[in-house]
Symmetry: C2
Subunit: 408 residues, 2 copies
């Protein structure tokens, strides 16, 4: 089969097909049809030349470009992949096909994977989220946005100082405290010591506030070490673990979900923007949300639209949609807004996300002029103000008013 033979615009995919949407631009001098076909060929059964080793029984395995919408420089296309191409329950295998060699082909100037829809039999061969939005809500018994913080400075605090910052945040009003993405088990703050100490302060905070508090401790490491840390977290009875899904990788994330019977899994996406940022090449964030949801994380960072990170409102809403859209019996994932946020952002965030969101502020809490506890109170008060329909500036909270003055 030639590349062009993989293109049949108007072909009706089977219900069991895996569907991918791509944006593509052909390289100079390469006809559009050839370039489109090259994607479907290389990601299924084809290569650059005619082979002598093809068997008649394998014809049904070819992928098909079945939709195309031309743009000025290229096209949006949809490709249908027969389900037999993939090994159920093996995400690295699936991605090696549909998000593998194709990004580096000479025939293509740019290629961006925009979306992926797994057929039911493949999607449900993974575990999916154990908790998802409803499960997370049950833990905290709240219907409003949850408020979280990241212990800051992101690296460098000793275990006890780390735990004290967490305590101040919880007592001030945070529901959740998390490690930052690059904290794992450094010499100044060993994992087991941090877990032990921070949980002691968590219990203290729960007692003093009468509220449930969450601690998302970062278990990112080589798979076996990661599992040991996960087990230690379970031994200590903590609900949450957190994992850097991109730098950890899909093979180990599957393992974490498989072996984790009852931890809530929080997914940090550090590193994603190396391939999500350029709008015409790479992999779009909704694809990452879908893969992570399929494997089974319960919460995932989806951008803020208003903080220190890229991604405007449109992109963030697309990410949220991937977390929450109808997806067989697979639970929706709780979206997390994190990165450069402070209490002033809360009304805008609530407009974008509604109630189903964890709003995380790091610097926006620990940078409060009166310190972490006041910062946490300001953040919590901002949520209360929004839920009551009161403009932030009119809300009777001196901590919130100071935060407005500092960053408003």
């Amino acid at each position: 089969m030639k590349y062009e033979d993989y293109v049949h615009i108007g072909y009706k995919p089977s219900k069991s097909d895996l569907i991918c949407e791509f944006y593509m631009e052909p390289s100079k001098g390469v006809p559009l049809k050839r370039a489109m076909g090259a994607i479907a060929a290389e990601s299924s059964t084809g290569t650059w030349t005619e082979l002598t080793t093809v068997k008649p029984y394998m014809k049904k395995l070819a992928a098909t470009v079945f939709e195309m919408q031309k743009t000025k420089r290229g096209a949006y296309i949809r490709i249908a992949y027969p389900i037999e191409l993939f090994e159920p329950g093996n995400m690295p295998n699936i991605l090696s096909s549909v998000a593998g060699n194709i990004f580096g082909m000479k025939d293509l100037k740019y290629l961006r994977m925009e979306d992926i829809i797994l057929p039911k039999r493949i999607a449900t061969s993974f575990k999916g989220p154990k908790y998802g939005i409803k499960g997370v809500r049950k833990i905290f018994r709240k219907k409003t946005p949850l408020i979280g913080t990241i212990v800051k400075p992101k690296l460098g605090l000793k275990s006890k100082d780390h735990a004290k910052v967490a305590y101040e945040a919880w007592v001030g009003g945070c529901d959740i405290v998390k490690d930052d993405e690059n904290l794992s088990s450094q010499s100044f703050n060993r994992f087991s010591q941090r877990l032990r100490t921070t949980l002691r302060y968590k219990r203290k905070a729960e007692k003093e506030t009468g509220e449930r508090k969450g601690y998302m401790i970062n278990v990112t490491a080589e798979t076996m070490e990661m599992l040991k840390r996960k087990d230690l977290v379970a031994d200590f009875g903590n609900e949450y673990i957190m994992i850097d899904i991109i730098t950890e990788g899909w093979g180990a994330l599957q393992t974490l979900r498989d072996k984790s019977r009852s931890r809530v899994i929080h997914a940090h996406r550090a590193g994603h923007a190396a391939f999500t940022k350029i709008k015409y090449h790479g992999i779009a964030m909704p694809v990452i949300c879908t893969i992570a949801r399929t494997i089974g994380v319960d919460q995932i960072h989806v951008g803020t639209a208003v903080g220190k990170m890229i991604e405007g409102k449109k992109e963030v809403l697309e990410n949220v949609d991937a977390c929450k859209r109808k997806y067989y019996n697979i639970k929706p994932v709780m979206p997390v807004a994190s990165g450069g946020l402070n209490p002033n952002h809360v009304p805008a965030l609530h407009k974008i996300f509604g109630n189903d969101v964890i709003i995380q502020m790091g610097g926006g809490i620990h940078g409060h002029p009166k310190g972490t506890r006041a910062g946490a109170k300001a953040a919590r008060d901002a949520i209360d103000a929004v839920m009551q329909g009161i403009p932030l500036k009119e809300y009777p909270s001196k901590e919130l008013q100071m935060a407005i003055k500092r960053w408003g």
Copy 2:
């Protein structure tokens, strides 16, 4: 500390620092110094606002921008990271710092990680390659480039047909046969069946040719399943395993190396071009080579400069340099050229790579007019011709002459 405080051009890094080189462009309106500092801050201890929780003892942990070379639109910079920032033996952790959030910061228009140099104490906390170039050479007892093929079509052959294609390639002259990156354990070609059958044909080929032959079988899967497959390969006494390092991920790759005492590990890089292709953003391939070498793969795909994939000679040589440059006591990794190659490319490849390379041809062998065996002979003859300094067109091999006619 403000972002700008992370910049000290002229600062002399400590020998124990981890060094990264980046290309960066600030976003519109953001001063260069602020943007450079933002990278060092976010990837070490800083954030977007002043914190109340900083402790005096952690000041020594800040990363420092110590070199800068301005370009028209931005700058090449080098950043020194104190070793204490990282957990030895934890690659995902290291990458979450130096290749994490920074790609998505609003202050930066583009950011590309160009190189990474791990200090000795971190680099040697990983296993490194067990075999490397010398070890691979020992297996095949050859000093010339090794010739390999990928069983094609890349997906769809039943186990027995797969094994027969491998057999034809070995008998024709290939040293090595490998699975393609998206073949794992599909219903038409189960892993254990393929392993069993292909190894039977490998033994037959070894007996008939009197040569050692290699079979690189793809173990890419969820970590535990991957380890099971690795064990099965060991039980069958096969030297090689192959892994898709990008879609599998670093956590699981470390596990594979840790648990693999004596398999040769072949690294396929399917998916890399999602973040390596755009020259001004993402992560450059030499970084990937260095990370994979540090963890301990023995062979890795580095591009071809002449085949169906992107990457010119300059890029390929940079990748090769990362595989072979002096790196404490860590062995050099065997570079693999693969992607759209046929026998006509051999002289050019030899000029680029020298003898230390595995030249893989898929379509360029199985697309030979007379079939796989003749294709393999043509490929092998092309190597022989180059080693003897004879132009391909003058080499007395009808298989090679047919290949020249087909693709020359």
